[in-house]
């Protein structure tokens, strides 16, 4: 039986999420035996034509070409998994959604009209149907390996959708907010990183985006914003903590009164 074909695609991103695959040092060669790596430009010159059994898509859509390209990739992919905050919410580059892109362009480039870009950076799901979503900036290696295993045996990946608070407790870390009064987005941020920041005495800063249940997230984000205010954060500071790598994720964008 032929091995399933894996493709990895890059859109607007930093390469960190696809690098996570190469960072699976202990599993990489084994994986190469289980699947045919048919398209993964960061790792190989060899490219074999579609259709592909599974496509991993990193990055957001931020140019007219990308909006075209993602449609084609969807057509040639049986399963399409989006990886990382750029692909799931638009990434840090979606901060342009709250500003004037023409002005952004003229700050960086002397002759801005040469640079083709869209006014908004959007997640892959705004363009094509997506089969599965892995959060994080960057994604977590163990979650990526779980997606691989699940895909190979044909079951749903087991990816928790609860908040970072659960992981913090599971890890036995002390709550930074309760114990040290450090502002933390853990209560409204989706688990997956293993609660790294609280373990380093730092508040969570939301790499994995809002918890998956949109209704809950909206309620909790508002409640958390109140709590941050009570801890002495200014309105501007509160807007900034929610406007980072998942700024355009609806629950975070709504909390800051911005467009998505």
């Amino acid at each position: 039986m032929p091995r399933p074909k894996l493709a990895v695609w890059k859109f607007t991103s930093c390469d960190g999420c696809q690098l996570t695959l190469l960072d699976c040092e202990d599993e990489l060669l084994g994986l190469a035996g289980q699947v045919e790596i048919a398209h993964f430009l960061e790792a190989s010159r060899a490219v074999s034509p579609g259709p592909y059994d599974i496509s991993l898509v990193e990055g957001s859509v931020s140019t007219p070409d990308e909006a075209e390209r993602i449609r084609h990739i969807r057509e040639v992919s049986r399963t399409l998994v989006v990886i990382g905050a750029c692909a799931t919410s638009g990434g840090i580059q979606a901060l342009r959604n709250f500003a004037d892109v023409a002005e952004f362009r003229s700050i960086v480039y002397a002759t801005p009209h040469h640079v083709r870009t869209l006014a908004r950076s959007t997640p892959i799901s705004a363009h094509v149907p997506v089969d599965f979503e892995l959060r994080g900036c960057p994604i977590d290696k163990h979650q990526l390996l779980e997606v691989r295993t699940a895909f190979l045996v044909g079951r749903e990946p087991n990816i928790p959708r609860h908040s970072v608070c659960f992981e913090c407790k599971a890890r036995g870390a002390t709550c930074v907010m309760a114990a040290d009064g450090i502002p933390c987005l853990g209560p409204v941020t989706q688990a997956g990183c293993g609660a790294i920041c609280p373990a380093f005495r730092r508040g969570c800063f939301g790499c994995f985006g809002p918890v998956d249940s949109p209704a809950d997230a909206a309620v909790n984000v508002a409640a958390l914003a109140d709590r941050l205010r009570a801890m002495g954060m200014s309105e501007d500071d509160i807007v900034r903590v929610f406007r980072t790598f998942n700024a355009a994720a609806p629950a975070f964008a709504d909390a800051t009164g911005g467009v998505r």
Binding site: T63, E66, R201
Partner: protein, 432 residues
């Protein structure tokens, strides 16, 4: 109509580089008329989106410019902001930063040597294909790479976009006992790193030399990583604060990466070969010895042999990490206080691919009013195009697919991190 004398070669979607790019060669009457390295990495406007952010945010935000060298961005950002706020961190914090940075050098260099570049020299499409014939070699590389990642995980919390770095120092300093196991592994890894130098030194290298001016940092008594000033093979010497007096960036139509050159001079080169050429005397005794045995001289001007320099720097980074772990005293507190302060600050560090410059202007409330970032790849791009023009000129008789592969290899010599300026390789040769 196409014939040998006039042709156009396009390398579309350059592989095994970090980012997206393309190369376009135009040949007229049997001579190379033009070589363009197109960078079509979509712009992400970091310098614009940093405006209005708090002075505490650039380390985390700019890390997202590049997943392969986030520590470099964090370190240059911290340095620049601390400079603007007129504070300096103590030696212990400095040492821990250098150790974290050693982790990134090891991970990034080993990734490039084993997974991105060596396959070219041995005629494989990828390291995975290479592993079918040389599994032990690829496993040796993966183990070394993992060690670099583990250093970043222990100190930084995770390997990609570490979370423990902040303006002023760290959120939490690791206990000496957390670093000790890394020391033991580093000691064992030293042999693998030395074997790596010997292995890559045995590759076949095309005979090719450039005479670009080379620019790198220099640090008294040490090989430059996280602090120092700049010097060049052309006799320049200046601090970070004078960077923009010496380097200008220009937009070119074929690229979203800006091109840099030296004021009143020409294109120039940063990166491992520049660092080595300007600082080889500061390498550790073992790194110097293996460099010598591998045939590296005072200068290294064959870009293809950059892979040897990278391997030597891995040996150095391992020695240096061992020294730092040996003398490790946890900084207490883990970070100094950095009150906001209106001013301009400059930061330079040696990213794995070369000098990375940051400048921030802050207002009294600590908000960023302007930001400038000059990554290594945009500094090298003009020199890479220059090399490619020469390189292609002597290889016009090759069929397009062979020429394409050799050009790709030549580009990979510079380990272009295209997401930081932007991605590579779409290759076209227009012979018309």
């Amino acid at each position: 109509m196409t014939h040998r004398n006039d042709r156009s070669l396009r390398v579309g979607a350059l592989s095994r580089v970090e980012g997206e790019g393309a190369m376009h060669v135009r040949v007229r009457n049997g001579e190379v008329a033009d070589v363009q390295l197109e960078i079509y990495e979509p712009p992400r406007f970091f310098e614009a989106l940093l405006r209005g952010r708090s002075y505490l945010e650039p380390p985390d935000i700019t890390a997202r410019i590049c997943g392969i060298c986030p520590v470099a961005y964090q370190m240059s950002a911290c340095q620049a902001i601390e400079d603007a706020c007129e504070v300096s961190v103590d030696e212990r914090i400095q040492a821990l930063r250098r150790l974290l940075y050693c982790g990134e050098w090891i991970e990034s260099h080993v990734l490039h040597i084993y997974l991105l570049h060596a396959p070219d020299f041995l005629g494989y499409q990828s390291a995975i294909e290479m592993a079918a014939d040389h599994r032990d070699l690829v496993e040796r590389g993966l183990a070394l790479k993992k060690l670099g990642n583990d250093i970043m995980e222990v100190i930084g919390g995770r390997a990609i976009h570490p979370i423990n770095v902040k303006v002023g120092g760290f959120f939490r300093a690791p206990a000496p006992a957390e670093l000790r196991p890394l020391g033991e592994r580093l000691l064992q890894a030293r042999d693998a790193a030395i074997e790596t130098v010997q292995w890559v030194a045995g590759f076949d290298f095309p005979d090719f030399h450039h005479d670009h001016e080379m620019l790198a940092m220099t640090t008294p008594g040490r090989y430059p990583i996280e602090s120092g000033s700049l010097i060049s093979t052309g006799g320049l010497a200046f601090p970070a604060s004078a960077f923009e007096d010496h380097v200008v960036e220009e937009q070119v139509p074929h690229s979203t990466a800006l091109h840099a050159h030296l004021v009143n001079r020409d294109h120039y080169l940063v990166g491992p070969a520049a660092r080595y050429t300007l600082n080889s005397a500061s390498l550790s005794p073992m790194a110097r010895e293996v460099a010598h045995d591998a045939g590296l001289g005072e200068q290294e001007r064959n870009p293809f042999r950059g892979i040897i320099v990278r391997a030597v720097e891995v040996v150095y980074a391992i020695d240096e990490a061992l020294r730092l772990i040996d003398g490790y005293q946890p900084p207490a507190p883990a970070a100094i206080e950095v009150p906001p302060h209106a001013g301009v600050g400059y930061g330079i560090t040696e990213a794995p691919r070369g000098v990375l410059y940051h400048r921030y202007e802050l207002d009294a409330a600590g908000l960023v009013t302007s930001a400038k970032i000059v990554p290594p790849t945009s500094q090298n791009q003009a020199s890479i195009e220059h090399d490619l023009t020469e390189f292609v000129s002597t290889r016009l008789s090759l069929p397009d697919d062979q020429l394409q592969w050799e050009c790709e290899q030549a580009i990979r010599n510079y380990d272009p991190c295209i997401s930081c300026s932007a991605h590579f390789l779409d290759f076209t040769v227009e012979r018309s």
